[in-house]
Symmetry: C2
Subunit: 430 residues, 2 copies
């Protein structure tokens, strides 16, 4: 089967022999994932998620999504961190950066900040809508950001629909525990389950990500097929052909042997911006502990070549880039011809815009490697559900191996509690 590729031939530093040397360790660490015996094993549910998810659940998700698509002009997705980033990333990748203008229903994200202005303005917009569904996503139901947003949107829904309001609220939460589970059961809202053994940043292929993605009209079965195919590939591929092992090993070597401090995830397609935001949580939260790990940064090119390009070309040599390439784009247009050619563009008139983009990518990789910035590359044959599914699973699997290489528990996040504790104290919470 066709699959995404990983290429480290422009890494400048990494030798095949170095990767080979790591082979045994990589197999061992990947085995800890497969057999669920490594650190954080209680959160390894994501490993076989694309296979374990039942068709009953998929069909339920699709049915509710279809109802929402048919009956509403606004859908509010309430969640923070892993409870919105995966959905946002896939929806923007598939529906484009103008999706808020062009998509029906409009899909809004909330509960991922504590901004009064954001919520006021959103409320204003929602008040002009005919029919609004809300999906509140939280394992506990007490996380401050989504809890505040949900109280506000819930109020709106209950004022609007009165006795019928329960139809318009869907909860995605723990099967048994927690405030949101209690709220859903008490009020009779429909609900989907966040498996106990799947952490937030690994939850895009549960109902957490799949329901909003399906509401956007995206085929979640194809996403799951891509993910399970990628699982199959990675379950059997030998280290030298195992792209998850190779990516994990490459970034480990660049970090620990070659002293790189920052990995910049680069795209040349604006709609991939939030894939990088999702990736930042995945790697940053999995690895950033015990004083370790690459800082996960991102750039949108060529856009940011005109802001961060100078730094990347000539600044401190403590960075490397991982480029997300889309080999074949679907929606394109031609560069028009101009009589006078004052802008000197006629030499590419008649060419597709994305052809120029591909040459910009090629030229940039050359320029940055000339400037001693190692470049890794992950290539998707096309930007569609299937390859996105592959990509998501690939990144998750590589992240687990990468975390184990660093000797951290990739599945906890003890540091996230620190600000909350202080905030609760300052707010006088008992």
């Amino acid at each position: 089967m066709k699959s995404i590729k990983f290429d480290y031939s422009n890494s400048l530093l990494i030798k095949e022999s170095e990767l080979k040397k790591l082979s045994k360790q990589l197999v061992k660490l990947d085995n800890l994932v497969k057999t669920k015996r490594g650190a954080g094993a209680e959160f390894l549910g994501w490993y076989d998620l694309p296979i374990n998810i039942s068709s009953k659940e998929i069909n339920q998700i699709c049915a509710v999504a279809e109802e929402i698509r048919k009956n509403s002009d606004a859908f509010v997705c309430i969640g923070i961190g892993g409870s919105y980033l995966g959905a946002k990333a896939v929806i923007e990748a598939m529906c484009g950066v103008f999706n808020l203008l062009t998509h029906k229903p409009q899909i809004f994200f909330a509960g991922n900040n504590i901004s009064g202005r954001y919520l006021s303005e959103l409320l204003n917009i929602l008040q002009s809508k005919k029919n609004i569904y809300v999906n509140v996503i939280s394992k506990s139901g007490t996380t401050t950001e989504p809890a505040i947003a949900f109280r506000i949107v819930q109020n709106l829904i209950e004022k609007k629909y009165k006795k019928n309001s329960q139809k318009y609220i869907i909860a995605t939460t723990d099967e048994k525990k927690g405030a949101l589970r209690k709220m859903a059961d008490t009020a009779g809202w429909r609900s989907f389950i966040i498996p106990e053994d799947v952490g937030g940043r690994f939850s895009v292929l549960t109902a957490v990500g799949l329901l909003p993605i399906a509401v956007a009209g995206i085929d979640i079965k194809k996403i799951l097929k891509g993910a399970s195919d990628m699982k199959k590939i990675l379950d059997t591929a030998a280290p030298e052909k195992n792209i998850a092992m190779q990516y994990a090993a490459a970034r480990y070597l660049l970090y620990s042997k070659y002293n790189k401090a920052i990995e910049i995830l680069v795209n040349y397609n604006p709609e991939l911006h939030y894939i990088a935001e999702w990736w930042k949580q995945l790697y940053g939260e999995s690895e950033g502990k015990q004083g370790k790990a690459l800082y996960p940064a991102s750039c949108d090119f060529t856009t940011d070549l005109h802001s961060m390009g100078q730094w990347i070309q000539d600044g401190v040599r403590n960075i490397f880039e991982t480029v997300l390439e889309i080999e074949k784009t679907n929606l394109d247009l031609k560069i028009p011809f101009a009589e006078n050619d004052l802008d000197e563009l006629n030499y590419i008139a008649g060419k597709q815009v994305d052809y120029v983009n591909s040459k910009a990518m090629q030229g940039t990789i050359e320029a940055h490697t000339d400037g001693n910035v190692p470049n890794l590359k992950i290539s998707l044959p096309e930007l569609n559900e299937y390859y996105l599914g592959q990509l998501l699973y690939f990144f998750e699997r590589a992240c687990a191996i990468s975390g184990y290489l660093l000797e951290v528990n990739p599945f906890d996040q003890p540091g996230v509690e620190a600000y909350k504790k202080n905030m609760f104290r300052l707010l006088g919470k008992k």
Copy 2:
């Protein structure tokens, strides 16, 4: 007069005595700016821009903006790097993150990527509009990204308006030289001038930024007043009270003495996201040369506390944060009371959302400094035109001093050419 503040009391490392030691040098370097005798002096036009800009030009900008506001439902702003980031940053800060949904006219940015899909989708949207104005912004007129986008939008405008199309195209470009100047003069388009001595990343207070900002209904006179007041403050303040000198010195010490590699510009107000993007170009492109400089990164909090928070709390201690604080917000709402209080939020019911946000900020600064992440803070009394004007000028002035401290020319960008050269070769440009 009331002004923005800079606070390094949570920097953990920087001592007053260290800043004092730098005083003489700071005064000397700032003098190179004032007297235009330092490296890159030919690009120091931004220094007295807020005072030098004529009321005639301001009035012309306002008049054209008023015409566009009255007569159009879509305004396309074509430019890349410094030719869009300043406008985008100010427009989003003032009009909010939902501005594309709520603002009339809708303001679109294009020419800042080479994406066929982006341009196709934009074209589709524009085809449904009644009246479209375009502002094409480029010093040369031959930069690939905006030139491609402009050919496409120009075609649309000329098909739509035929003989009257010249009314709907406004060029912002060099006074005399370059392709876009020639195109504008030949076609009879109205035009505004990019002063020869102002580089792209310092151009937000020229017509480059001011026209799109005015089209968004934002009072550019107040922005300029803020900038010129900040100039006055910085022109006379002694080093220990000079916030530009202090910010420049603080980041210089954190970089060169305390080995920090990354500065994260942090906001707690989602509408400030693009202020950070503008800031990244300003500092990244000004300083990232000769193998030097802090890597400028950014986070939106509390959003990214649930993605990058773990890394920041417990990862490599090679970072510091600069927090943008808005002391008093204008648009807010109350957290509703809930009978059952299952989500345990009643302890803050009745409070304003932004009150909780301010405690989140306070708690986060505490948590991160506990985690050995130095925190600097820049505070705006309010988010309005006047203080944004102060902020823009403050960042520019501090950037010049900061670049001189690093012993680089803060006003060139030789590294930006590298990818273009390769791209032109690959595209077969002669």
